[in-house]
């Protein structure tokens, strides 16, 4: 197991190098002149433009720019955005917000999603199954932007149960955005769990367990659920990776200064160093949580071995 994990972690190095170069190349390939856009309708003084282009190596060819970037990176310098702010500072400030939002969302997603799925799955076509089916279909079909504005208007402005925006009230500020962010995945987790549970309820080993006279609770929790969770864990694992990349819409509507907004702004301003720094970090998260998922498989399914 340890060797397996070590090998997987080592493999991330070439992936990260490749990914960062690709992202760097994509930002480089964006048309337009970012320094020209800095000045707006009134152009900056020519010598200032030259100075900025030189500072950010914008006149070098792609490979040279990338080499300079990696060179700085190896000395621990992640570069700066066009405002002169360190990329590392930006990550340090914004990542906690994104993590808090992701944690809340994942909690909703896993807890509500799995419970709803199990309840629906153990009684197929029962009342609860239909409730879950209908409600999850509705949630999945509403765009998150609409969901966010409606939730903010109803629960934030009219009822006043949650803060309308911002992170001023600690974890509580993240409840409403977390729920909105989780909604789509939550419905998906419920459906996935339901199908999986319903299928396993008819499996031979469950029938055997029932025949042995095991209590119903033990049959469901120990035997059915555990086997049903593999696809769900895969999905949630991949979702964590996605959520760590920030949720641009949710962060914007609820005015949460997270990583998603930072990437969005940086792409728009064509700030190569910022985009590469943050996205590479996200790639790492994604790989990492996939590794966690793979390791979890072995826990859930004794037939899976990595040694």
């Amino acid at each position: 197991m340890g060797r397996y994990v070590a090998r997987r972690l080592l493999l991330t190095i070439p992936v990260l190098i490749g990914a960062s170069f690709l992202i760097f190349a994509m930002v480089y390939a964006l048309p337009g002149d970012p320094i020209r856009a800095l000045g707006g309708d009134r152009p900056l003084a020519p010598a200032v433009v030259a100075q900025l282009r030189d500072e950010y190596n914008l006149d070098d060819p792609l490979v040279v720019q990338y080499a300079k970037y990696v060179g700085d990176l190896l000395q621990g310098d992640f570069g700066t955005d066009f405002r002169g702010r360190e990329v590392l500072d930006t990550i340090e400030q914004r990542l906690p917000v994104t993590i808090q939002l992701a944690v809340v969302a994942i909690l909703f997603e896993a807890v509500i999603g799995i419970i709803a799925g199990v309840l629906a799955g153990i009684r197929r076509n029962g009342f609860l199954d239909n409730v879950v089916l209908v409600s999850s279909t509705i949630v999945v079909s509403v765009p998150i932007l609409v969901l966010a504005f409606v939730a903010q208007f109803v629960f934030g402005l009219q009822l006043g149960w949650f803060p309308i925006s911002g992170i001023g009230e600690g974890w509580y500020s993240f409840v409403l955005p977390g729920l909105v962010l989780a909604a789509g995945s939550l419905a998906y987790v419920a459906r996935l769990t339901r199908t999986s549970v319903a299928e396993n309820m008819r499996a031979d080993y469950v029938r055997t367990a029932k025949a042995k006279g095991l209590p119903r609770r033990t049959v469901i929790v120990r035997h059915t659920l555990r086997n049903s969770l593999i696809p769900v864990v895969t999905f949630i694992g991949a979702d964590i990776g996605t959520l760590m990349g920030g949720a641009i819409v949710t962060e914007s509507v609820f005015n949460l200064p997270g990583i998603g907004r930072a990437i969005f702004d940086a792409v728009r301003a064509q700030e190569g160093a910022v985009v590469v720094g943050i996205v590479t970090l996200m790639v790492f998260f994604f790989i990492f949580f996939n590794l966690v998922v793979d390791v979890l498989y072995a826990v859930l399914d004794p037939r899976i071995r990595y040694d």
């Binding site: 197991m1 340890g2 994990v5 964006l30 337009g32 002149d33 970012p34 020209r36 856009a37 800095l38 000045g39 707006g40 309708d41 009134r42 152009p43 003084a45 010598a47 200032v48 030259a50 100075q51 030189d54 500072e55 405002r83 002169g84 702010r85 930006t90 340090e92 914004r94 906690p96 993590i99 808090q100 944690v103 903010q152 208007f153 402005l157 006043g160 803060p163 309308i164 925006s165 911002g166 992170i167 001023g168 009230e169 600690g170 914007s252 609820f254 005015n255 200064p257 930072a262 728009r268 064509q270 990492f288 949580f289 590794l291 966690v292 390791v295 072995a298 826990v299 004794p302 071995r305």
Partner: protein
């Protein structure tokens, strides 16, 4: 293999635990405490630059700096004239070229250091020096010696670090020599770029950019947090006539205006100086006397590519201008919140003449006969250019529809390039048809609406003369206005210059915008000036 399973579970939880913990550190926020009743909050968008006077040329950062600094002169929010209520006691000159600036005694920066002549001279030299890459560098281009501070090539060193046109006479006096006479110069120095800087700035400009030390009515006791904002507190030793009324002001950064507006409705935000487009129709009835509408010092025009064969004839340009019903567009698209422009100069500055531009009024018949006389080929569609993603689609389409209806010319919207591509194209004479041209004034002087947009020295890439209009007579009248000994003389010359523009019509003036804002019941005396800024010091907290 029980062991393996347990190990696996431990590794999995351990790994993710470490990740979450390590990243979560320091994630707590301070929280907003607004208990003492003396504080209020203002909406801003994310400032584009660090909060340095020399590097802030947009409204968001400008608004914050305006509370932190007081310049040599200040602009009267009613008349938009420069008033000596700032640091300067007087700014005088005999020849409109060499200006003597005398400062009031007793002004201090928030760190206690005195505001003296050196504070201004050092700040201006720093901003002008090209290796410092300050966005506002060009504001000093008319001071003698500016060229010596520009590096001949990127990464190179300029000849000098100080402009020879700046000279400290004594602690409270300095002398500025301009490269050519400019009678309006004292009016320009109220702008952000001209604010003084304390010695602490030069020790660590980057730190200063996050937590500026100014001389204004409010001081920053904590750094600005990108994406969130900053809370400023009243500076008790403020030397100006009007210290801040409230104890503190929070500038809160929002990405979505809609979110800020919902906060305003919910009472958790106090002031917005701009409203989301959807809210404009209902805001007035919803907020009643807490709805604010004031004139803005700007102009939106339809620029013509004078370098393009089709638009080289002034009569063609006049015909296009006369075919646009400005009021109808204002009503249909902007709920009547754009004032039709009938001059190249904004109504907020001295020298504005209503109805100066005859070709700015709708006159379909005249337009068609002008177009016929010019032999304009109506079978070819015209391109209408604007930058993407900034909400210009609807009104540009309305312009196009009117051209089609009134002139029988088909149009094609060319609005899919973002600024980063659109601006270089404008610089490179790439406009194949009329384009959106907008300008917000830097200082309330008629010249600011003429020189930077239409003079020969302002041709791209150095300036904003995107129509590539060039007329020696116009340039000369502008010079005459700049050198005029009295304000009346200056205004007369600027108006004569404007008449040249009206005859040539390099662009069709379309609208002046209005500032639209609203505030909560928590505050009163909210004034939005012609720059779109709120005078934070004047705001009173009532509840």
């Amino acid at each position: 293999m029980k062991l393996s399973k347990r190990t696996a579970a431990l590794i999995a939880t351990g790994l993710s635990g470490v990740m979450v913990l390590s990243a979560c550190g320091g994630g707590d926020d301070e929280g907003s405490s607004s208990a003492d009743g003396g504080s209020f909050s203002i909406y801003i968008g994310e400032p584009e630059n660090p909060l340095m006077p020399g590097n802030t040329n947009e409204t968001e950062g400008g608004q914050v700096l305006d509370s932190l600094f007081t310049g040599l002169v200040q602009y009267d929010p009613e008349t938009n004239e420069a008033a000596f209520t700032g640091v300067a006691e007087s700014i005088e000159s005999d020849d409109q070229t060499t200006w003597t600036v005398k400062l009031n005694d007793g002004w201090t920066f928030h760190d206690g250091s005195p505001v003296n002549a050196q504070s201004f001279v050092d700040a201006w030299n720093y901003t002008a020096y090209s290796p410092n890459a300050q966005g506002n560098s060009y504001f000093f281009a008319n001071i003698v010696g500016y060229g010596d501070l520009q590096a001949p090539e990127a990464g190179g060193d300029p000849v000098a670090t100080e402009m020879s046109g700046l000279r400290v006479v004594d602690d409270l006096t300095f002398e500025v020599t301009l490269s050519s006479p400019y009678a309006q110069w004292p009016t320009t120095v109220g702008y952000t770029a001209f604010f003084p800087l304390p010695p602490a700035f030069f020790d660590d400009p980057a730190a200063f950019g996050e937590q500026p030390i100014g001389n204004g009515p409010f001081q920053a006791v904590e750094p600005f947090v990108p994406g969130q904002g900053v809370t400023l507190t009243r500076y008790e030793d403020f030397a100006g006539d009007e210290p801040a009324k409230a104890e503190s002001v929070e500038y809160r950064v929002y990405v979505e205006q809609d979110t800020a507006y919902t906060d305003l409705q919910g009472g958790s935000l106090d002031i917005m100086d701009t409203l989301p487009p959807d809210a404009i129709a209902s805001a007035e009835s919803e907020f009643g006397d807490r709805y604010i509408e004031t004139a803005q010092g700007d102009i939106t025009s339809l620029g013509f590519p004078t370098y393009d064969q089709r638009f080289a004839d002034p009569n063609v340009r006049k015909a296009f201008s006369m075919a646009i019903d400005r009021q109808a567009i204002s009503d249909a698209i902007f709920n009547g919140t754009r004032t039709p422009a009938t001059s190249f100069i904004s109504p907020v500055v001295p020298g504005y003449r209503e109805g100066a531009c005859e070709a700015c009024e709708l006159n379909v018949e005249e337009a068609n006969s002008l177009l016929d006389a010019a032999g304009f080929d109506r079978s070819q569609p015209v391109d209408l250019w604007f930058n993407a993603g900034a909400g210009h689609d609807a009104w540009m389409e309305a312009v196009g529809n009117q051209l089609r209806e009134n002139l029988g010319v088909e149009y094609q919207l060319r609005g899919d390039l973002p600024q980063a591509e659109f601006l270089p194209l404008k610089d490179a004479k790439g406009m194949t048809g009329p384009f959106r041209d907008a300008w917000i004034m830097d200082y309330p002087v008629a010249e600011n609406f003429l020189g930077p947009l239409y003079s020969s020295v302002a041709l791209p890439p150095a300036g904003s003369n995107y129509t590539f209009y060039s007329n020696p007579q116009f340039d000369q009248l502008l010079q005459q206005g700049n050198a005029a000994a009295s304000d009346d003389e200056a205004v007369a010359a600027y108006q004569a210059a404007e008449d040249v523009l009206i005859a040539d019509l390099p662009s069709a003036p379309l609208f002046y915008r209005l500032n639209q804002g609203a505030h909560s019941e928590n505050v009163d005396n909210v004034i939005i000036d012609a720059f779109g800024r709120i005078d934070a010091a004047a705001v009173e907290v009532v509840s």
